[in-house]
Symmetry: C2
Subunit: 141 residues, 2 copies
Amino acid sequence: MTSSAVPKIVSNAGSTGSTEAIALEICDSPHVINAEKIQQVQQELLSPEKAQRMAEFFALMADANRLRLLSLLARQEWCVGDLAGAIGLSESAVSHQLKTLRSLRLVRYRKQGRHVFYQLQDHHVLSLYQAVAEHLDENEE
Amino acid sequence: MTSSAVPKIVSNAGSTGSTEAIALEICDSPHVINAEKIQQVQQELLSPEKAQRMAEFFALMADANRLRLLSLLARQEWCVGDLAGAIGLSESAVSHQLKTLRSLRLVRYRKQGRHVFYQLQDHHVLSLYQAVAEHLDENEE
């Protein structure tokens, strides 16, 4: 995979040095774009439409109460009343959060007689939750 | 694990029936809180503080361009100029997005001579990205 043509000068104006908590780090030399590499990934690159759907998904996950519900559902199935008791929210509030999680297909329910038990939809949800939890745990001060 | 005391009546006022796209589903009978189960999970339940940090993390991930950058970095390391070329953004815009991703400790860089190469920070980032991508793929209409 060799670099091909299209020379381009990198502006280093954004490089404000180490006084910033996190500096902008870019190549410190004229940059030759690797057109072949760029071409190769075009088919694999996340489309703007799918990126937007993912972004909307992340935005809906950005809710502390929703995440606390998932932390409980990650371990076992629950009915709404117990979830409400465990988290300290009203059943109505929990029901509405579960409705959002169902619309995201993150949780599902099963009926047993007159009872309704909620559980995680699938292993992706658990992977997602665990990946974020572990990432934050490892990077805590 | 037997249920203990604290009987409580479930309000079914929120149950608006199946005319709604996603109905609220709660137990259709007076609910007896499972106090033992609730007690058992108190230590494992995500704390409000950690839930808030997770929510902030998800909020920062809710950006289509940031996600497109991660989709490229999920496969190989990149320098800013090539990332910019692949995604069709300016180097300055890409640098600022990478700065945010570094502050989240999702990406890191290595210097090689006068060049700077970005890569994913660790396997959690890849798990997170893949879990969401697969979840959305499986649930597409």
